[in-house]
């Protein structure tokens, strides 16, 4: 495989690791867009990312001032982000993250053998809840995906799906029973999605679950998951267990997708899969000229 040559993708910020999982001054290795990278935090917690260098192998102690050539870097939502090209403006906002009563945590970074766009499409699809997340996010016979709205936001270049509702037996760790749960989905980045769902603790507000996909190559990702929850009752390990249980159920479904890249041609797959938000997402990727992790539509 050759490296990524898609300029749209090369110029994006990507999360590559959780700050909390990164030990300061110890080298961690990862792969982004087929490029071997290393990263760490310095003594005051500032991240740095560089192209892998034999002088500083994974696990070694490093004096961060020795690394003279580094990649662009940002800290956002508990993760270290970098960019291999010319970084665009800021990383997309998630305003709720800064609300003082939120519990923000890195739920997991899990390797999945699928393209990023396939994983985003699955994240947007409510139809699989009763079959894949049985008795948690859905239950038969409540299988109907009710009518919802999808649009490209006027203020930002992102897809927004609203008025999504689904009956869920146990929507979160703070739930006490089944309820009709409201969802809002955002896709503010070709490889990231942010989902809002009515909070089990306070139905007037919404929990936030964000998926930041790090493409290792066109058919493999590291899926980083952020939770920003309204849940005073449960400790972190319980919230993480819930999210990892859900993601562990999605994993084999994702890994069995064929082809692993997402076809953008509207005729490529049956209409069942291509529901409204999936159609919007595919069109949006096409309009941006994205080629990495997808099978572009023939002109």
């Amino acid at each position: 495989m050759t490296g990524c040559t898609d300029p749209t993708i090369l110029n994006l910020w990507f999360a590559i690791g959780a700050e909390q999982e990164t030990t300061p001054c110890i080298v961690s290795d990862t792969v982004l867009l087929e490029e071997d990278l290393s990263f760490t935090l310095d003594r005051v917690g500032q991240p740095l990312v560089w192209r892998r260098d034999a002088r500083w192998p994974a696990g070694s102690v490093i004096d961060t001032s020795d690394v003279s050539v580094t990649l662009p870097v940002k800290q956002a939502y508990g993760y270290i982000w970098t960019c291999l090209g010319q970084p665009s403006a800021d990383i997309f906002p998630i305003e709720e993250y800064d609300e003082p009563d939120r519990r923000n945590l890195n739920a997991a970074s899990i390797g999945v053998n699928v393209s990023g766009p396939r994983a985003i499409e699955n994240f947007l699809d409510m139809g699989h809840f009763p079959y894949v997340h049985t008795d948690i996010l859905g239950v038969q016979p409540h299988t109907e995906v009710k009518e919802y709205d999808v649009e490209i936001s006027e203020s930002r270049d992102e897809i927004v799906a609203t008025r999504c509702r689904f009956f869920q037996p146990m929507a979160s760790t703070a739930s006490t029973g089944g309820a009709d749960v409201e969802y809002v989905y955002r896709v503010p980045h070709p490889y990231c999605s942010v989902l809002y769902k009515s909070s089990g603790q306070n139905p007037q507000r919404m929990d936030v679950i964000a998926l930041f996909l790090q493409p290792v190559n066109q058919e493999r990702v590291r899926a980083h998951m952020l939770l920003s929850m309204l849940d005073e009752a449960n400790d972190e390990r319980v919230m993480r267990r819930f999210q990892q249980t859900i993601f562990g159920q999605d994993k084999p479904i994702l890994e069995n997708q064929y082809p692993k890249k997402l076809p953008l041609d509207p005729r490529a797959e049956t209409p069942i899969r291509a529901d409204k938000s999936a159609v919007a997402y595919r069109r949006w990727l096409s309009s941006k000229g994205v080629t990495y992790g997808v099978i572009p539509a023939a002109n």
Binding site: A18, Q20, E21, A58, N106, A108, S109, I110, G111, V112, N113, H128, Y131, V132, T134, R222, E236, R237, V238, R240, R241, Q244, T245, I246, F247, G248, Q249, K251, P252, I253, E255, N256, Q257, Y258, E269, T270, I272, R273
Partner: protein, 222 residues
């Protein structure tokens, strides 16, 4: 009540949830943040298990580590029928024990491959996969000959034993480590039989037999 120190995505923890559910034994699961918290290496957990491994089971003052050892304990104590672990049948106990050791081999190969793919463990992935295929080939042949003698389970007899429970999880999760079961038809049929045992439950990554499984296949093929 029995306490199980548990991590949802662990196949070795799942073995114990599975057997306890089949036996109708109540227990309390104590979640341990294996990843990303690495709580199994924390001071408080190392006091319970100095090896820093899950699962651990605590019952009536007995503290046990090692999934296979715990299966032996649970079946010997909580299965009055003696089907799962026949304590008065030395030949069968020997047979079961040899397959419990085999299950450990599946853990160090197929489970290791899954940890490499999902959680970025630094293992030799090719060696893990080759080792798993070698064991799967042996298990497939064993089960194929068993079927020829009208036997459904790893060890002779009409009822499954803890050998089946010990081997099942990391076989059924093998594809997460990039190990296909396509060439092991007898293993595939045996997995389906395990899923039909009374009291069977799933974990993340494992799907039930029957209509729900069929529906999923239809979805992922679409």
């Amino acid at each position: 009540m029995i306490k199980l120190y548990d991590y949802e995505l662990s196949g070795n923890c799942y073995k114990l949830r599975l057997l306890m559910n089949m036996l109708g034994v109540d227990y309390e699961a104590v979640p341990v943040d294996f990843y990303p918290g690495r709580e199994h290496k924390s001071d408080w957990f190392l006091k319970i298990n100095p090896l820093g491994q899950l699962p651990v089971l605590v019952d009536d003052g007995v503290v046990l580590r090692d999934a296979q050892a715990i299966l032996v304990y649970l079946a010997a104590k909580y299965d009055p029928s003696g089907n799962w672990y026949p304590v008065d049948d030395p030949a069968k106990l020997g047979d079961i024990s040899q397959w419990l050791a085999f299950a450990d081999g599946i853990t160090s190969t197929a489970s290791a491959a899954r940890l490499h793919e999902g959680l970025f463990y630094d293992f030799d992935i090719d060696a893990c996969r080759a080792g798993a295929h070698r064991l799967f080939r042996i298990l497939d042949e064993h089960l194929w000959f068993a079927e020829k003698q009208d036997r459904d389970w790893i060890c002779p007899g009409a009822h499954p034993t803890i050998a089946d429970i010990a081997c099942f999880p990391y076989v059924i999760l093998s594809e997460e480590g990039g190990i296909s079961r396509q060439d092991y038809p007898a293993i595939r049929r045996w997995c389906d039989r395990v899923k039909r045992i009374q009291g069977f439950i799933v974990m993340s990554g494992v799907f039930p037999a029957g209509p729900a499984g069929g529906r999923l296949n239809a979805l992922s093929a679409a």
